[in-house]
Symmetry: C2
Subunit: 182 residues, 2 copies
DNA sequence: TCAGTTCCGAACAGGAGTGTTATCATTGCG
DNA sequence: CGCAATGATAACACTCCTGTTCGGAACTGA
């Protein structure tokens, strides 16, 4: 196995995030292997896409667990800060999922994403009950706002609009404190 | 002209936003016309995509002008509120551009988008100078954060996670005041 | 009724991508 | 050195989409 599975998935996520219609030949070229070799790893395009999605969700699950988002004893703002840090390197891995709609009707993937959503929303509800997050905002919305601000940071970093090391801080500070001058 | 150009673009943006790889046959079906008739309006797929993008940018330009974003005398927060309201209905029209990468190398479209970006960023810089927006956040980032919160609202509304009429308020309140409890 | 227009359906050629197969070169191991 | 495994290259069939063409249906206006 000259080229690791991870290297293939990494190349694939970069190519497919940049252009969801990219050819398997493009992916293979980016991974430094031939198209036929790529087919020996993933028999069909869909199989590759599925593996990519699973890998992205694995990493997200791991980040959520490591940050202790589901832990009621953990300070929710600290947990969110840790999670945001951990999410920043996942740009292309997860970003590709945003643009790839052919997996929308995959029940397993939807269920995995719903579970992540539930963990986040529960944590936000606890933070609201603890008086740390505004109770007048729907918890679902706060979670969505956080996620899309992370996407904003991914895009901003990729486009060179913000410094890579600033991403996490900007997301957290904007989400929690807002952009209006005090 | 039984089916208006606008109806075709509307159907096309909905179909292509849901799935950028959708076939022209899909688009024609959604628009209620035949595939051959669609070809009489737009000779190639690229021509249709270009028309869609131009239309979306036209609407964005109009919304920016109507909100007075570029007007230094206008209260910047009120202008942003008006703009956010005006952006809410543009979900699929602009959302499709987010996912469509085949137009990334189109110089005209890039220039149009850059001009919109410049108007927004200038307005944010003025708001920072006036003490209405935190000066410690990069103006580029504030603009991006606003835009992606708008996207979050589009997605949330489409998924039924937030009420359509709440979108604009949630975006503004989150961006300006933050989600942390005071 | 006739002419003109607009649209649809069917059919076709061409191109591009997927997935398969067979053959050859390379590397590593016994 | 010989064998096995791995991957590359090339070629192929197949499918799907694009873009074009043609004949006919429906509607309109004189």
């Amino acid at each position: 196995m000259a080229v690791s599975t991870d290297a293939i998935l990494d190349a694939a996520s970069r190519v497919l995030a940049a252009n969801p219609g990219a050819t398997l030949a493009d992916v293979a070229r980016a991974a430094g292997i031939s198209r036929t070799t790529l087919f020996t790893r993933y028999a069909t395009r869909e199989e590759l896409l599925r593996a990519l999605a699973d890998d992205a969700l694995d990493r997200t699950d791991a980040a959520i667990a490591a940050a202790g988002i589901g832990d009621p004893d953990r300070h929710p703002v600290e947990a969110l800060a840790d999670l945001t840090d951990a999410m920043m390197p996942l740009g292309s891995r997860l970003g590709y999922l945003l643009r790839e709609r052919s997996l929308d009707d995959d029940e397993d993937l939807r269920e995995r994403w719903a579970r992540i959503d539930r963990v986040m929303t529960d944590a936000i509800r606890r933070a609201q009950a603890d008086g740390r997050v505004r109770p007048d905002l729907p918890a679902l919305w706060v979670g969505d706002a956080w996620f899309w601000l992370v996407v904003a940071a991914w895009e901003g970093i990729e486009a060179g609009r913000i410094a890579p090391l600033d991403g996490s801080r900007l997301v957290l500070s904007t989400l929690l404190d807002g952009a209006a001058a005090p």
